[in-house]
Subunit: 262 residues, 2 copies
């Protein structure tokens, strides 16, 4: 088993794709819990809360404790609570992000002009009016925090526009770009995950579908990495990036071979 | 009257702001027509057709012939008809642009993947799904034409996000930016306007509220320029840009002084 005690597991493209559980994912995760491994699900999703995520996984037959979930909505709340707890934020994003920020006591600004931070995440029901309000927040001097800056997210309909679209819509015209990006592969996200696991990086394996976020997270912060091909990456791109995975599996079920020492 | 025979007049922020006619605009325009001056309304609006624009002006009590209207939807249709008439286009924008392109015989692609061009304009009812489809067009290799790249447009609610927002939403995540930008201050727009007027540039005056688009259009292409302060620009910024206006007026009614030789 080569000494991995902790597992950082991505969600979109690794555990599920849209609302569909990926074959073998649930059994593999259950086995980890059964064998007493420490697990944290580390997702660049910033538009849902941990409660929503837990419910989604439960709906797919996978019960995980909320403490095992580290979303970028969660990590953004942690960041603001630690660095700027009295600030008022304007959100370009969905209710899930607002709910998650509220669990950290973060206050929403009444108007864009009153905000200290604009927090940007994926917004699948975005309107022009909301883009315009976020643009006004930037023009009024709000600093910009993006939950992540992924270009694409794997969905049931194929690879779809991710947070980079929301960022581009308001930052390109404003001529000002995010001051802080929370999501993988950031130091902030790595430290939050390792703190959750209570383990040093060398005993941890990151499992995910994205070279840019998951494999980079592992390699920048001293962890091992397994790339799964159920999301954004394919065989052709597996070793083409700046950061190389230690393992490449067709799906997360490939972890079983590792657990069995094959 | 210092020899101006032709007038290139901007619309948003110069003639109207949102649905409100700017004080004195209608009388000044009527006077130009009465005195036999040649007039073309040159707007970076790409989300409406000439028919819609004519109806909007008529609704405000200002009757102008459709031939006097040069929108970026119009100029985009001219461009595609001249340069790539058999191409199929995907539109990120409103019905008005599609209608205007149709008057030039431009064909819409059935799917984003089938498009030769992605045409981007302001889209005030944009949805995530539409952004995603435009993103797919770029990823499939479509060239990108933007009706304009203005950051802000003056509206009744204040300065609002313009086409640069739509461009940023799909081009930033795709990592590819417009191949062609049609609107002011482009050469294409200047030539189209001068062709409509049938006059050499030195006999023409551009009147508009934007230093970046109107005043730049005039100064880059040998015309004179009057900045009006009813839109984006204020007194403080009037002479601060790269291109300096010849005249600065509180509104287009300032033209009356010029017509009277004051």
């Amino acid at each position: 088993m080569s000494g991995f005690d902790g597992f950082l597991i991505d969600l979109d493209g690794t555990i599920y794709r849209g609302d569909l559980l990926i074959d073998g994912a649930a059994d593999t995760v259950r086995r980890l819990f059964r064998e007493g491994k420490r697990v944290v699900f580390v997702s660049n999703r910033g538009n849902i809360s941990r409660d929503m995520c837990k419910a989604k996984l439960a709906g797919m037959g996978l019960d995980v404790p909320a403490e095992s979930l580290l979303l970028t909505s969660t990590a953004s709340g942690m960041y603001l609570k630690e660095r700027d707890p009295d600030s008022a934020v304007w959100v370009l994003g969905e209710q899930g992000l607002k709910d998650e920020l509220a669990t950290f006591g973060i206050r929403l600004a009444p108007r864009p002009e009153d905000s200290d931070w604009l927090v940007i995440t994926l917004h699948e029901t975005v309107t022009y009016r909301e883009l315009n309000m976020a643009f006004r927040a930037i023009r009024s001097g709000a600093r910009i925090l993006a939950t992540n800056e992924d270009r694409m997210v794997p969905t049931a309909e194929g690879d779809s526009l991710d947070v980079a679209g929301m960022i581009g819509a308001v930052c390109h015209p404003a001529g000002r770009w995010p001051d802080v990006v929370i999501g993988k592969p950031s130091e902030w996200m790595a430290q939050a995950a390792l703190r959750t696991l209570g383990l040093p990086p060398e005993r941890c394996l990151v499992i995910g579908d994205s070279l840019h976020s998951d494999i980079a997270l592992a390699k920048r912060h001293g962890m091992s990495a397994a790339l799964v091909l159920t999301g954004l990456a394919d065989h052709g791109s597996a070793y083409g990036g700046e950061y190389k995975p230690d393992y490449v599996w067709d799906s997360i079920a490939g972890l079983n071979g590792l657990l069995e020492g094959v």
